[in-house]
């Protein structure tokens, strides 16, 4: 095992996991965002159409979460074994939230007399899952105490003002993704409503992103050094600048009657947000002490899985894109059949 090859593979795997997490966050992000915004739509036709716009794809979107978790387990088992016990209540809450959200897709159509209940479960499940995901991210960023090969912190380390802030930021960001998706997939009054929601969510997202960024720099001297001193600043600075450019473009697009542009800009916003997080924690997978190389699986595991990813990922992206293509355009009034 030559160390150079190992280093390269570990970095490749870090990018693959980051890609899976990004794919999950934006794809299930708009599903969860629609769940969060669901109560603001009229029961009946508006809600039916909003849910039908994601019914054929939510399951595939959620699969990226399994790849993110399963990939972490396989490629960085130590990180998986530390992060999940450290954020235990958040993970359990997320899983239970996703249970309610997922079954609501089926149940609300099967039981008209309890449709209001399952609509509520759809919203509450989405909200809890989004909040828990954002707080888990915050708990990771603020650092996890590790001793030997195990979590060594206390039981409520994950509950701080900072994690509440990242949780709210994620909820707002998902709402933005959901609202911009609905601008794309709906028309008429429902679309106008989605556009109004998107404006509010955009401002909330930007405010919370800013707050989290400031908090990051204040929270941790390492993070501050990374963002504020030369030469690191030359690599880091483009991220907030590009984020600002995208944010302005999106706020302008929301004032026009463009249908898909706000959604694509929201995706870009998330992309730069994640790039910023990458800059912040690199090369750690569990800040402050566990690097990706500390946590990496052995080379044989990495190579074996890389073969699988190289073969299957282009196919997965191709047939996922096809499924989206099949259900392109404004959502049917009556749903897809």
């Amino acid at each position: 095992m030559s160390p150079e090859i190992n280093i390269d593979l570990t970095m490749i795997w870090a990018f693959i996991i980051a890609f899976a997490v990004f794919a999950y966050v934006v794809m299930d992000g708009f599903d969860l965002g629609i769940g969060i915004l669901f109560p603001t739509f009229d029961p009946g036709r508006e809600r039916d159409r909003a849910m039908n716009s994601i019914a054929p794809v939510w399951d595939g979107n959620e699969t990226w979460l399994v790849l993110g978790g399963g990939g972490l387990f396989a490629a960085f088992p130590l990180a998986y074994a530390v992060i999940l016990p450290a954020t235990y209540p958040l993970i359990i809450a997320m899983l239970l939230g996703l249970v309610f959200r997922g079954v609501a897709f089926e149940y609300r159509w099967r039981d008209p007399s309890h449709r209001a209940f399952w609509d509520g479960a759809f919203t509450l499940g989405s909200l809890v899952a989004a909040m828990a995901q954002g707080m888990t991210l915050g708990a990771l960023l603020q650092g996890i105490e590790v001793e030997g090969r195990a979590y060594a912190g206390s039981w409520f380390d994950w509950l701080t003002p900072y994690t509440l802030l990242t949780g709210l930021g994620t909820v707002a960001g998902y709402a933005l993704l959901g609202a911009t998706w609905l601008i794309w997939k709906l028309d008429g009054d429902a679309q106008a409503h989605a556009r109004k929601l998107a404006k509010r969510a955009a401002w909330a997202t930007l405010a919370l992103m800013g707050a989290v960024s400031v908090y990051n720099v204040l929270l941790n001297t390492d993070y501050a050094a990374r963002w504020l001193t030369a030469p690191e600043i030359y690599f880091a600075a483009p991220v907030p600048i590009l984020t600002a450019v995208v944010a302005i473009a999106m706020l302008r697009a929301l004032k026009t009657d463009r249908h898909s542009k706000p959604f694509w800009l929201a995706l870009l916003l998330f992309f730069f947000g994640m790039a910023g997080l990458g800059v912040t924690i690199w090369p750690n997978v569990v800040p402050p002490d566990v690097t990706i190389w500390d946590a990496a699986a052995p080379e044989r595991s990495q190579v074996f899985m890389l073969v699988g990813v190289a073969i299957t990922m282009p196919l997965i992206i191709a047939y996922t894109a096809w499924a989206y293509w099949v259900f392109r355009g404004k959502v049917d009034d009556e749903g897809y059949h």
Partner: protein
Amino acid sequence: MFDGLDALLLARIQFAFTVSFHFFFPAFTIGLASYLAVLEGLWLKTGKGLYLDLFKYWVKIFAITFAMGVVSGIVMSYQFGTNWSVFSDLAGPVIGPLMAYEVLTAFFLEAGFLGVMLFGMNKVGKKLHFAATLMVALGTFVSAFWILSVNSWMQTPVGFEMGANGQFMPGESWLAIIFNPSFPYRLVHTVLAAYLTTAFVVGGVGAWHLLYDKANMHARKMFSMAMWMAAIVAPIQIVAGDMHGLNTLEHQPQKVMAMEGHYESHPDGAPLYLFGIPNDEEQRLDYAVGIPKLSSLILKHDLDAPLAGLDTIPDDEQPPVFMVFWAFRIMIAIGTAMMAVGVWSLLARWRGKLYEWRWLHRAALVMGPSGFLAVLCGWITTEVGRQPYVIYGLLRTADAASPLAAPAVATSLLAFILVYFAVFGAGVWYILHLMHKAPHVGELGAKRGDKGPIRTAGITPGPTQDPTDATTRDLSGTKREPEERP
């Protein structure tokens, strides 16, 4: 509620509870996905609307079951880390990649094509839709392949090296890890079990409607297809199960000792116990009723072959016998009953009375859910039977758990129990409701609006009437459903 239980036991109960619940759904969807593919294939081949009706009847049930399988499955994929972090860290390099392959080759395939399968018939055309159905069915099988490989490796671990940090590291060959000694047997036995489970559900639903109306052509067709499966697959499953048992005897003899209730060794022929109350304290089978030498005949194909008992195994290496012994017996009893129904149906078919013999229909109805119980009991047999180890002979369950405090696990366990019974209870209720409706001409499939017909994108439809649909629509376009409360 869980006072006095330690964190380890709570974590074990939580895993057993969540995995048992989860297992019901794939046990049904693996078979049902294949059944749907067969129905759609027959429809395309023969052009008979009957097959399409049956497809649409069962695809509604599939959609609900699949959703429950997905959400309960995500719980499993995270629970390795939340509750079994030491195991995850140590075994991750070997089993993590197999599970990653499951995601890449199975989960994405199922989920990617499920939307088209459920909602895309009129958007992509018949042939592409059939291809999507086949991909979903293939995905369910591939998923079983990988996860059973993982489970089998934990039962019969081979092909690894021990790392300096205590981790299990993959050896030279991944094929040795994937195709570990118990895997082929477990895969065949489990997939056949899934097919049988589905066959009996389909047969039970067919029988239910035949009991109301033996002229219902749809009910006749599903009942007939299910009984062919029972008659053909149940005997094959018994042979496969026997081979799996012999493989277990070779690699995990303690498990077979517990299954057989053999506390004591039998140097000249071991009895097959039909009944008994295992008593681990005293290391004996109380109230035992057995047939002399039959166990040796089954396991060694020799009436006088010696069989070692648990007296040759140190106490702290023994699995708890009671659960294994009884779970195994229930599974065997159900398997035998399944074969009996299959044979009975052959007799009825031969006499031309398949749709006439009401006692056969009643038996098939009672046996409808039996596959789930058999699958659960088989799972208990193999999982409890490999205790006290999580990686057989190498890592004890007690050494594999996360450093969590008992109150944290007790809380999550309580939450899982409440949520699972409520949510999946509702799902099962909806499924039973769908099953209770008789299949008929012009089934609607997994519709997602309150009306049937398909429209192109972006057009607001005018009022329509569809005679096959129970819903009505007034002129303003708002929907009204008969079930809706006033």
